[in-house]
């Protein structure tokens, strides 16, 4: 029930399109001339030109003075979908993200997608700017490493806008509790649990932990830590848990104003015999402080980190670390969002079980 067009030029346009499709004309093939169109359809030259002009604007045809009119893109009407995927990272420089991006890039490249990169430095405002930017870009999908995922997000409105536009969004590492979304994450609770069990097995009596307070990973690793302790009838004193956040971490790594945290680390190094550290960066930092204060790792105190980064291998005392395969995580993420884009899967909720890699620090 194709509606009969009221206007002659609509009939002419349709005639051209039918002509292209029936004869299976490809880009560059010539169509009949304006004069011939006049005769075939018994319309004026003006009407033919109006029709052809429309089809040129719509991308169907191209005309060349003195030569004729040619098929441009017979599939122009398909409105080909975007092949661009936005990736929002927290820290590009961060010790594990480059590897994940390398995995992402490799898969996306192979499948003909491009990456558009944004970086938040774990700041909510920068995340907002990236999202706003991406909303103006006709993306096929978005991969996000959530900023400060432990807290309610100020950017849910923008995430909902992506949903409204049916642009798939896939979280990596963590996600916002209040926004039901697709994600590929590590099983951080299990990671904390297994790391702590390992410390207990190695004889830890006085446990301590250092966790990041503003992302979900920190909370979940802490949860696993508590679970392992309680299953083994151990308790933990509040004083032996150090919570730090993005701001503290920046100061620590820049060695500015880190006195408070340093003091607390010295405290627990003196009091405890096992520390579950939020990640390898922290474990490495603890190692340095231990060296300065003469505490021996692992003899006096054992350390477990997370992420199995290069730091873990390069440290004086090679670090035991809980980790996922990073490049692989990037690949899985890329493949997942491509499935979402192709609608072969609408929701992806993937939790990757990490493994404990035992080294000298325990």
């Amino acid at each position: 029930m194709t509606k009969q067009p009221d206007h002659k030029y609509e009939i002419v346009k349709q005639y051209f399109i039918n002509f292209i499709q029936k004869n299976d004309l490809k880009k560059g093939d010539k169509v009949f001339s304006e004069n011939e169109a006049m005769e075939r359809l018994k319309v004026s030259r003006h009407t033919v030109r109006k029709a052809i002009g429309d089809l040129i604007n719509e991308g169907w045809l191209i005309s060349v003075k003195g030569m004729g009119t040619f098929v441009n893109d017979p599939g122009a009407f398909i409105n080909k979908p975007s092949k661009l995927i936005g990736v929002i990272t927290t820290y590009i420089t961060d010790y594990i993200f480059p590897e994940i991006i390398a995995g992402l890039e490799d898969v996306f490249h192979r499948k003909g997608y491009n990456i558009m990169l944004g970086n938040t430095s774990n700041e909510i405002e920068k995340e907002r700017q990236c999202l706003l930017n991406f909303l103006g870009q006709d993306l096929a999908g978005v991969v996000i490493d959530a900023t400060k995922s432990a807290y309610p997000s100020a950017n849910i409105d923008l995430l909902n806008e992506f949903r409204k536009r049916k642009i798939p969004v896939l979280f990596i590492h963590s996600y916002y509790r209040e926004f039901d979304s697709s994600y590929v994450v590590e099983n951080d609770e299990y990671g904390g649990y297994t790391g702590t069990l390992h410390l207990i097995k190695r004889g830890m009596k006085k446990p301590a932990g250092i966790f990041k307070s503003d992302d979900m990973q920190g909370h979940l690793r802490y949860k696993g830590f508590l679970k392992a302790l309680s299953e083994n009838s151990m308790s933990i004193e509040d004083d032996n848990i150090i919570w730090f956040n993005t701001y503290d971490k920046k100061n620590m790594l820049n060695k500015t104003n880190s006195g408070f945290i340093d003091g607390r680390i010295i405290d627990i190094l003196g009091r405890c015999d096992g520390i579950l550290c939020y990640n390898d960066e922290i474990a490495y930092y603890v190692l340095e402080i231990a060296k300065k204060t003469g505490i021996k790792i692992p003899e006096n105190c054992r350390l477990v980190g997370f992420d199995d980064s290069k730091l873990a291998i390069m440290a004086d005392v090679k670090l035991t670390s809980v980790s996922h395969p990073k490049n692989e995580l990037g690949r899985i993420t890329a493949e997942s969002i491509i499935k979402m884009i192709n609608k072969s899967e609408t929701f992806v909720k993937m939790v990757i079980k990490p493994e404990l890699i035992v080294r000298e620090s325990t």
Copy 2:
């Protein structure tokens, strides 16, 4: 010297555009009618309609039957330029590139540009694919870390295509000799020179060097190395120079099939008392071999690396390293290509002088 258009409808179009701009009309404001245009410009209705039709297609105007013609997007004429910059890296994961990208990203983000990322793994074919891909993307500019810059490039044709399209291309780290282009590079010759002078000052009598054969940096660092030696009336035996390439490096880092290079490193460690290493990764690798074979650094042999990467600080024996500020390099690069895009500078040839950072390995 705006070219006077040959056709009447061009004049009419320009008249409409001037009218909108002079009266500062906003979206939705009405412009004069077709009849009035006929009278004002003394042209036929047909010509006026052709002009208005063009402007509608270009996004300037919208007309409503029975009401009139209205301004749609008063800025459409700008044909707003792309705000997307392609960045081609060799190794995203590489120990210094993430920091450079972070610097790039920060500046680009601030100036409203987006990064599209490509990765070559230092393979010419992948570089070609990235360039081809970028040619189909309407980019404002391209930043490239050249692949195997010591060799003639197979991709000059594509680089010339960018030039033809007047898309600025800026090389970083190195560039192709046969393609006269803009670049931001480190002064690698000076770096090799100053690193070698430092080794000589520390008493090096039997020099050795390890260089990468397939990028320009390796050749230039070698050149600086030779210069420093000859200025101090020292000579170098061919056997004490190790050349490696991308393929060897991959094997070395994966600890597969690296026997040949390992043997040569053991050789020079036994024979020589100072090694200028292509970069910190190599210096770190040499350090590990030295540890295994019982050679003491710096007592028996001194090492100088390049890049001042995290590796330099984390090694057992902290590495002396020749380096530029990496984040800063990213910033300079970003600012340079933005200047090129804005045409405030057409060619950028910037050579950044590296500094020697002295640590335990010398």
